[in-house]
């Protein structure tokens, strides 16, 4: 393990968003969006981050991208600490981490042609020399994601959702990044297109040795392309395991509930659905002790008072539950 240092290391990451209010706009409360998240990603590996909406998965992604300052914690990329990097070095670091967003409509500037969208990262990182080289590189990117070359001078609104997502992926590939964060990258697409894009991502990963941080709320999607899965609940990782283990032997009650909600394409299959009661508590005022205790079917007094830590329950399998 020592010989193979992780590509990305996230250590006790916290991101709290202040809520301003009152007459003078002082901070009246905080949203504990991400509250102590630790994980690593190896080169060429896919880690999926799953959880309900509002659990902080996207905030983790944006923290790794350094789209905002972190509240606490450390982020290392290629062994280099990036959470407190000064702006000028951060700009060059961005070449190593790219992002594909959920909404293929708002993630592309409606007033830029495909050529300009894909040229932006290439030019920013000084990867092209001259106009001809630029066109060649842009066309190569379009080939890679399966876009027709003659689309180079078209605007985003002239494409379908799936094609737009391909443009977004091409933009993320442009700087030759090691890690691509897919923030719900396929959630907005319909099923057949979703499958195409997932296959494209898997192919690109094999071809280029990319690592993916795949953020999703859909376990069925995740199962197809991930190596490991981290389940998040209210700003914390509650279970982390490789795919096979997690799907076959989930430990945390929340993971079990999530898995029982995945539809099975067999009308005769008997399933025991675990229906969670109530809503997700507010991240502004998270519950004491185990954050899941308000909805957990196995709650005890200990869960209400003591916060469980994420600890190993098997080989590379971590779970944060008192019952394990």
């Amino acid at each position: 393990m020592i010989a193979d240092p992780p590509l990305l290391e996230v250590n006790a990451l916290k991101k709290h968003f202040p809520i301003y209010g009152g007459f003078l706009g002082q901070i009246t409360a905080k949203v504990y969006a991400v509250d102590g998240v630790t994980f690593t990603i190896k080169r060429g590996e896919t880690l999926s981050l799953v959880g309900e909406s509002g659990c902080g998965k996207s905030t983790v992604g944006k923290s790794v991208l350094r789209l905002f300052k972190l509240t606490e914690g450390e982020v290392y990329l290629n062994g280099e600490r990036i959470d407190n990097m000064p702006a000028h070095r951060l700009r060059m670091m961005r070449q190593r981490v790219q992002v594909v967003f959920q909404d293929p409509f708002s993630s592309l500037n409606p007033r830029m042609k495909v050529r300009d969208i894909l040229a932006e990262p290439l030019v920013n990182f000084g990867l092209v020399h001259g106009r001809k080289d630029l066109t060649e590189k842009v066309e190569a990117l379009m080939d890679k994601v399966g876009l027709p070359r003659d689309a180079i001078n078209r605007f985003p609104h002239e494409f379908s959702g799936g094609q737009r997502q391909r443009i977004g992926i091409a933009r993320a590939l442009a700087p030759g990044a090691d890690l691509i964060i897919c923030d719900e990258a396929v959630s907005a697409l319909d099923v057949s297109v979703k499958a195409q894009i997932i296959n494209l991502l898997a192919d690109l990963q094999d071809e280029l040795g990319l690592a993916l941080l795949f953020i999703s709320h859909d376990l069925a999607t995740v199962e197809h392309l991930t190596h490991r899965v981290a389940v998040m609940y209210l700003g914390k990782i509650v279970e982390l395991a490789d795919r096979r283990t997690l799907f076959a032997d989930p430990h945390h009650p929340y993971t079990r509930a999530l898995l029982s909600a995945v539809p099975v394409p067999d009308p005769l299959a008997k399933r025991q659905r675990i229906i969670l009661k109530g809503d997700v508590p507010s991240p502004i005022n998270p519950p004491s002790g185990c954050r899941f205790h308000t909805r957990c079917p196995f709650t005890s007094d200990r869960c209400r008072s003591e916060e469980p830590i994420l600890r190993p329950v098997g080989d590379g399998h971590l779970s944060a539950c008192h019952l394990d």
Binding site: L65, L67, R91
Partner: protein, 300 residues
């Protein structure tokens, strides 16, 4: 595949139930889709032509006095009549369009540029946003005409000063609009993707933010243009605007005011030109608003 006659099943011809959509030429189609732009644009274009070609449209020297022929009714010789100093009202109205259009377009331009700069700064530099916006609120709380009068009282009457005064009165509205658009645009995923792609902030503003503020800005600019023309006429009417030596619609109306009950045409003709021009510019703005962004139509 072996060579042979392919066995296609050809679909039978459709019966002519659906009426064939009417084919329109490009210009006709544009007029059909955007009638307000067409009408407004046409009228504005005519006003521009009148202003540019005023000397060639059968006009005389608009400032030439002829006491012997004063207050003549409209006739073949004097289309719009003459005023109490014998000056030809037709010539004065046509030359007056130069002042109105110059002031309208200049103010629209100056207020847009100034308002955009301040709006972008305010939207991007959160530390000074509140301060800037309170100053803009303060400026906006004064009615634009009063503010323009106050500013004109500080300076000498000239067309430049009128433009500056009205621009100062109008730009806070633009800055507010631009700030709002910038605040919503900077949260767009494509801006975040640009940051992740290593784009510097000035480039983000120039390539991602400004092009997308252009549509609401243009709409706002047309409305400012119309309002500036009215303000200019008002300033001139009360004697705080364009110097009396220059014929402007406001000046002509101010001079004809005393004779309104006996010689109404002196006021009537500049007034009708002002109304038509302002209407045309507003129609153009309305049309642009609907054509450029349907969502914007609800917001403005």
């Amino acid at each position: 595949m072996s060579a042979g006659t392919p066995k296609y099943a050809t679909a039978p011809d459709l019966p002519g139930i659906l009426s064939v959509p009417k084919q329109r030429g490009r210009i006709a189609g544009f007029i059909y889709r955007h009638p307000t732009i067409a009408v407004g644009g046409f009228l504005v274009a005519i006003m521009l032509l009148i202003a540019v070609f005023a000397p060639y449209l059968g006009t005389k020297d608009p400032t030439a006095l002829a006491p012997a022929r004063r207050t003549r009714e409209p006739s073949v010789l004097y289309w719009f009549g003459t005023d109490m100093l014998g000056r030809d009202v037709y010539s004065r109205v046509l030359y007056g369009s130069r002042v109105s259009l110059l002031v309208g377009f200049s103010v629209a331009f100056c207020a847009s540029v100034l308002g955009t700069i301040i709006g972008v700064v305010s939207g991007f530099v959160r530390q000074i946003d509140a301060v800037i916006m309170r100053i803009m609120d303060g400026l906006m709380s004064i009615p634009p005409i009063l503010l323009a009068i106050a500013l004109m009282a500080l300076t000498r009457a000239s067309v430049q000063n009128v433009i500056v005064a009205i621009s100062i009165a109008e730009f806070p509205r633009v800055s507010r609009l631009v700030r709002g658009v910038v605040l919503s645009l900077r949260e767009q995923p494509y801006v975040e993707a640009a940051i992740a792609s290593g784009t510097r902030v000035p480039v983000i503003i120039w390539k991602h933010i400004l092009p997308n503020t252009l549509a609401p800005l243009m709409v706002q600019a047309t409305f400012i243009c119309a309002s500036a023309m009215i303000t200019e006429a008002t300033l001139s009417f009360i004697g705080a605007g364009t110097p009396p030596i220059i014929p402007s619609w406001g000046n002509i109306m101010a001079e004809g005011r005393a004779l309104w009950q006996v010689k109404p045409y002196i006021v009537f003709f500049p007034a009708i030109f002002l109304s038509i021009t302002v209407l045309a510019v507003n129609l153009l703005g309305d049309g642009l608003r609907d054509a450029l962004d349907p969502r914007l139509a609800k917001r403005l």
